[in-house]
Each structure stands twice: as structure tokens, then as C-alpha cells.
């Protein structure tokens, strides 16, 4: 049971991370290699704001933290929007080759890594004095889960549902979905393609920043987390089907559950070292059989 609880907790984070990546891919056919770095930047912005408000201005911790997460969302939205407007749009308009955006995305990952190191340094950062949003551990039979994890998982679920509803029912969401399906047709129907593309990239980056902020409250943040996070995000997106929202969510939960199950069970038979090997080997086999992922379209 504890395995399932941990799997759901991990899955919610992963799903939210993957949503941002798949949104950007769906809109622009761009693989945003800097997604993990955006997650890290979100964590650090949350840290900076929380620390300043709580330790400096003596705001209550919960209020300081949530303002920090909002700040992270706004900062990443601006960063994402600027990246799309200044870098990606320029490259896409000038280059006939799709691979150019891959190089650009890798370059932005290095750029963000360097900026993060310069601004925030190398050290692990946590909540002020290691405090928690909510103290205590929920205990039920052999299940132990800290209340702050329950809170973070709950917020993640709410955000996933909110994202789905927004994409389904809002004017902006409809415009983005039209864009993802057929850019030319969307343009002909009067959709401001450039504006909604930038907005989509900004939303994707904001989602990464928000998760970075939420997870900061549980596991802290350090500048080395960018690449591991990007790798996991890509794993989920490929598993679920690139560019498909429901695929990203499913991929996130599957990866979360797999990790939780394997990390808990394999050590019992002396194979703890093999957890991630098994996950990635399984992924390779799966993609060989079904390259488009669980919910992806065969034509890509």
C-alpha cells in the first residue's frame, strides 16, 4: 500500500512536469531540453522569495511559500515567453531544418544552468531552517506519508485537472489545441499563431517552474537537478506519446508507479541497483514495439 501511495505522489509530480514539456512539443515540435533547468529555476525562485518573505519580513511560512510559487510561475512564464520570442521563433523562421531547434534547446539548457549557478550557487537549499508547510506524518497501518507530501500531491492533482479544463474550455486553450492540430488551418481561421505559440511556451515553462516550487518544499533544490529532471520528463513524454496531454499524464503516473514499485521491491531480492536500468530497458523495448507511445498518433 505504501508503494502505491508513493507511486501516486511521484506520479502527480511527474505528470505535471511532463505536461509542460508536451505542451511545448505539441505547439511547436520543439523538444525543450531546458525543461529540467526551468524546473530548477522555479525551485530557486521559490526559495529566494520564501526566504525573503519569511526570514526577512516575517510573513507566515505558508503564505511566504505560496507567494514564492506564484513568483516562480510568473518568472518562468516571462523566461519562457522571452525564449520563444527571441530564440525559438527566430530560429524556426530562419531555418529550414527542424534539428536547429534541438541545438537551440540544448543551448538554452546550458545557458540556464550557468545563470542558475551564478545567481544561486552550488549548495542544496531547503525551506527556512528545514521547516515543513505542515508538520507530521499520516500513519495508517504500515503506510507512512508526510502531510506536506499529501498537500503537494493534492495541489498537483488540482493543477492537472485545472490544466485539462482550461485547455478544453477556454478560448486560449481552444486556440492552442487548434494550433497543435494544424497550424496552417488555425492561421486561416484567424488564430494569432505567433501570440498563442509564445503563450504556450510560457505556460509550459511556468508549469515546470511551479513543480520546481512545490517540490522544493519537500525535497529542496540544488543546481545539479536540471538534467536528471529533463531525462525523466522526456521518458514520460515518450512513454505517453509526444504532444498528447493525456499521454503525458499517463506517462507521469506510470513512471512514478514503476519507480516506487521497483525501488521498494528490488532491494528485497538484492537487485536494488537495477531499478533504473530495468525502467529504461523496458522503455526501449516498449518504444521499439510502439514508437508513438501509448496515446500518440502513428504518424507522429
Amino acid at each position: 500500500m505504501e508503494i502505491v501511495v508513493n507511486g501516486v505522489y511521484l506520479g502527480a509530480q511527474y505528470a505535471l512536469i511532463a505536461l509542460g514539456l508536451t505542451l511545448i512539443f505539441g505547439l511547436m515540435n520543439v523538444l525543450n531540453f531546458a525543461h529540467g533547468q526551468m524546473f530548477v529555476l522555479g525551485g530557486f525562485v521559490t526559495y529566494g522569495v520564501t526566504e525573503r518573505l519569511f526570514s526577512g519580513l516575517h510573513f507566515p511560512l505558508a503564505i511566504a511559500f505560496f507567494l514564492g510559487v506564484i513568483a516562480a510561475a510568473l518568472v518562468l512564464m516571462v523566461v519562457g515567453g522571452l525564449f520563444e520570442r527571441l530564440f525559438f521563433r527566430t530560429v524556426i523562421n530562419r531555418s529550414a531544418r527542424d534539428e536547429s531547434t534541438m541545438l537551440l534547446a540544448a543551448g538554452t539548457a546550458f545557458l540556464l544552468d550557468s545563470v542558475i549557478l551564478i545567481l544561486f550557487g552550488q549548495q542544496q537549499k531547503g525551506m527556512p531552517d528545514g521547516q515543513k508547510l505542515i508538520d507530521g506524518v499520516f500513519s495508517w497501518g504500515s503506510v507512512l506519508i508526510a502531510y506536506d507530501r499529501i498537500l503537494v500531491a493534492g495541489i498537483s492533482f488540482i493543477m492537472i485537472v485545472g490544466f485539462i479544463l482550461y485547455m478544453q474550455w477556454s478560448r486560449t486553450g481552444r486556440a492552442m489545441r487548434a494550433l497543435a492540430q494544424d497550424k496552417m488551418a488555425a492561421r486561416l481561421m484567424g488564430v494569432n499563431v505567433d501570440f498563442y505559440t509564445m503563450l504556450g511556451f510560457a505556460f509550459g515553462a511556468a508549469l515546470a517552474g511551479i513543480v520546481g516550487g512545490l517540490l522544493f518544499s519537500v525535497t529542496g533544490i540544488n543546481s545539479g537537478l536540471g538534467d536528471p529532471t529533463s531525462i525523466k520528463a522526456f521518458t514520460m513524454v515518450m512513454l505517453g506519446g509526444a504532444g498528447v496531454v493525456s499521454g503525458a499524464i499517463m506517462g507521469g503516473f506510470i513512471l512514478g508507479m514503476l519507480e516506487s514499485v521497483l525501488l521498494s521491491l528490488l532491494p528485497l531480492i538484492g537487485l536494488g541497483d537495477l531499478t533504473h536500468f530495468i525502467i529504461f530497458a523496458s522503455l526501449m523495448v516498449f518504444l521499439a514495439i510502439r514508437p508513438q507511445g501509448l496515446m500518440g498518433k502513428p504518424w507522429g
Binding site: N6, Q122, G126, G130, V137, G224, L225, S264, G272
Partner: protein, 399 residues
């Protein structure tokens, strides 16, 4: 016979002679500003950055201090000390590149690398290119080969482990121990040494196989099965400073009440991010211990803090490697350009320890572990973290 042609030839010869004279004068002037380049190759970015950063800062602080006093007198010459650094990012290929760079710049003495992964591949470059280096890495093959160019610069976990476990056995009633390590060469190696050490002092090892992937941030799924085996002591083998707060937080959150320790150096500033969960954490530290610290050590700490704004406790032991390099060169000036002379002199070298009150001379040690003296003596101080800073638990000695 003087004509235009002969005159011009004479003039050019004179000009050449004059130029040579100026060059000679310039060369003579340079002799007063000799530079001793000492290198550092190690990790200054990533989760283990605290290890390499404290090395660089220690060396720079000490070098500045020596240069302020006019430099270091070695034989008939006086040298300014210059620290040349290279970040190997804990990548073996970069460590090799770092050593090649040092060799190409004429640097013969290198502090670091901080891990086996860097120190092992650097061995061949050091041998071929005439470098002596001071790894913070525990792999015994670095130190056991004849004429080895590597000198262990800190206490290895297979030296400190037995001492710590015995102390905990005697003073805290520890009987059962579990080990958790990152799935990397160094932590796994330290875990295996730790398991052997624990068994050798009669402890029951209830879990010696649990691992996590580098970069892991959520340790609950990993620690939960370990903690259910009820160890009295949980050893975080080879844990990187950035990962320690997360592991501590997870362990306490899961209800673990026992002792948690490691044999790597830790960083008090980073441990703060775990809050009270880090209290009681045992690790190897430096010798700013009041009972040990000399006036020079206090001066070093003061200068370091002023220069960098914070103090890394383990810098107390990180400063020693540079001191040994300079001390041996002073004892045998021929070693400046010839590392074979260094190795020869290291056999019998001894000098007063400027950093410690009382009599603990700086000498080369390690015969009991490596069959030869390929280790520098540094004090073994075992620390316990408490509310933001390290306290000395005890000062041990290597058996």
C-alpha cells in the same frame, strides 16, 4: 678600410649585443619573482562541489597569506605561490584532461582529485608526466604500487570507519548497522569497506546492499525498507554534501530514531536545509576543534572567512596538502623540478605542525595500509552536527 658596408655590419652586431644585454638584464630581474605553481584538479560543480570548493579556497587562502609575507623561501630562491585550478565535474575524462593541462603548464604538484573516479585514471598521466598528486580518494591501488605518485590527503573511510564504529559501540550501545550508498564507484566502494569494517568490530550488518541513483531527490521509497530492519546506526556511505540533507530529512520523517553517520566530509551550511533532522549527524571533519587549533589555524580560519564569507569546516584538513608540498620542497629544493626527489624526501620528512597545538608533527604515513608511506598525516576529528554547526565528538587516531 672603414667603408659603408663594414660600418653597417658593425652597427647591426652592436644592436644585437645591446638587445641581448637587455634580455639578460630582464632575465635577471625575473629571478626575483619566481613562481611556484601548485595545481588543483577536482570537483567544484555539481552535488559534490563542496568537496572541491573547500580545497580551492583553502589553497588560495594559504597562498595569499604566504605571498603577503613575501613568498616562500626554497633553497636560495624565494617563490610566490600560485594556485592553478581545474574543475573535473567528477568526470574521469575531465580529470585526465586536467592533469594533462597541469603537465603542459609545468605544474608538478597537484592537489586532488576528490574521488576515485578522477584519481584512478589520473595515475598514468601523473606517472608519465612527472606529477605528484594528493587525492581525496580511497582506492588502495593508488598508493600501493612501487614509486606511486599519489599520496592520500585525508583519512580514508576504511581507516576512520573502524574507529567510529568502535566508539559508537562503546559509547552509544550500537549493535546493528545498515548502509545506504549512491550507485557510483566511490560510494559503493566505501559501503563495501564499511560493511567489512563493521563486521570486523562485531556489529551485525542488517542491510549492506541498498543503493540510490545520483541525482535522486526523494529518498523515502529507498530508506523505508532499510529503516524497517531497525538498525541502531544508519551509515550514508560516500554521501555527497548536497544529498545528505535530503537523506536525513527522509530518515527522520519515516520515524527513524537511531544514529546516522558518514565518513565523508560534510557542509554545515547545506545541512541547515534539513533543519532539526540533521541534528546528531556524525561525519568526519577538520581540526578547528578548540583543543587542537593553534594560533596559525585560527588565523587561517579568520582569513578564509574574510575572503569567502563562510567557513567550510573540512577546510582545516584540506589546507594540509599544500603545506606538505611546500614543506618537502623546502627540505629538498631539487624536488621543485624533480618529483623523484620529492618521493625520496617524503620517506623521512617530518616538520612541526603549524596548525595544531601540541606535538603532532607533519609526516608521511600509511605503511600499515599501503606497505609504504603514501599518505599525509592529518588529524582525524569526528564531528556531530547540532543546530547549524559542527561539534567535536572525539579526536581519533588511525590504528
Amino acid at each position: 678600410m672603414l667603408n659603408r658596408k663594414n660600418f653597417m655590419k658593425g652597427l647591426s652586431v652592436s644592436a644585437f649585443a645591446l638587445s641581448f644585454g637587455l634580455l639578460s638584464m630582464s632575465a635577471a630581474a625575473n629571478a626575483a619573482d619566481k613562481v611556484l605553481n601548485v595545481g588543483f584538479v577536482g570537483v567544484t560543480s555539481g552535488p559534490a562541489a563542496a568537496w572541491g570548493t573547500s580545497n580551492v579556497r583553502s589553497m588560495q587562502t594559504r597562498a595569499d597569506w604566504l605571498n603577503e609575507k613575501g613568498g616562500v623561501k626554497i633553497g636560495a630562491d624565494t617563490y610566490k605561490v600560485n594556485i592553478v585550478t581545474f574543475d573535473d565535474k567528477k568526470d574521469p575524462k575531465l580529470a585526465v584532461a586536467g592533469f594533462e593541462k597541469m603537465a603542459s603548464q609545468g605544474v608538478r604538484y597537484v592537489v586532488g582529485p576528490n574521488t576515485d573516479e578522477g584519481a584512478i585514471p589520473a595515475y598514468d598521466v601523473a606517472m608519465k608526466r612527472g606529477i605528484v598528486y594528493f587525492p581525496y580518494a580511497f582506492a588502495k591501488q593508488l598508493y600501493t604500487k612501487p614509486n606511486a605518485p599519489a599520496y592520500l590527503a585525508m583519512i580514508a573511510n576504511y581507516q576512520s570507519g573502524p574507529t567510529i564504529y568502535k566508539w559508537l559501540q562503546a559509547n552509544k550501545g550500537v549493535k546493528k548497522v545498515a548502509f545506504v550508498a549512491a550507485n557510483d564507484a566511490d560510494p559503493i566502494s566505501q559501503r563495501d569497506s564499511g560493511v567489512a569494517a563493521a563486521k570486523s568490530v562485531g556489529l551485525e550488518v542488517v542491510d549492506g546492499k541498498s543503493t540510490y541513483k545520483s541525482g535522486t531527490t526523494d529518498f523515502n521509497p529507498i530508506l523505508s525498507p532499510v529503516i524497517k530492519k531497525n538498525p541502531d546506526l544508519l551509515v550514508l556511505s560516500g554521501v555527497a554534501p548536497a544529498a545528505a540533507p535530503l537523506l536525513l530529512k527522509s530518515a527522520r520523517e519515516l520515524g527513524y530514531k537511531g544514529i546516522i553517520s558518514t565518513e565523508t566530509a560534510q557542509n554545515a551550511d547545506e545541512l541547515k536545509s534539513a533543519g532539526s533532522a540533521a541534528n546528531g549527524f556524525i561525519s568526519l571533519g577538520g581540526a578547528s576543534t578548540p583543543e587542537l587549533a593553534s594560533a596559525d589555524m585560527k588565523e587561517f580560519v579568520k582569513r578564509y572567512t574574510k575572503k569567502f564569507g563562510v567557513y567550510d569546516d573540512e577546510s582545516n584538513t584540506k589546507v594540509y596538502a599544500l603545506e606538505y608540498i611546500i614543506g618537502v620542497l623546502q627540505a629538498n629544493p631539487k624536488a621543485v623540478d624533480n618529483v623523484d626527489e620529492f618521493k625520496k624526501t617524503a620517506e623521512t620528512f617530518s616538520m612541526k605542525n603549524p596548525y595544531i597545538k601540541g606535538n603532532m608533527p607533519m609526516t608521511f604515513v600509511g605503511k600499515g595500509y599501503f606497505g609504504q608511506k603514501n599518505q599525509i598525516f592529518v588529524p582525524m576529528v569526528v564531528n556531530q552536527y547540532e543546530n547549524g554547526s559542527f561539534k567535536t565528538l572525539f579526536v581519533g587516531k588511525v590504528d
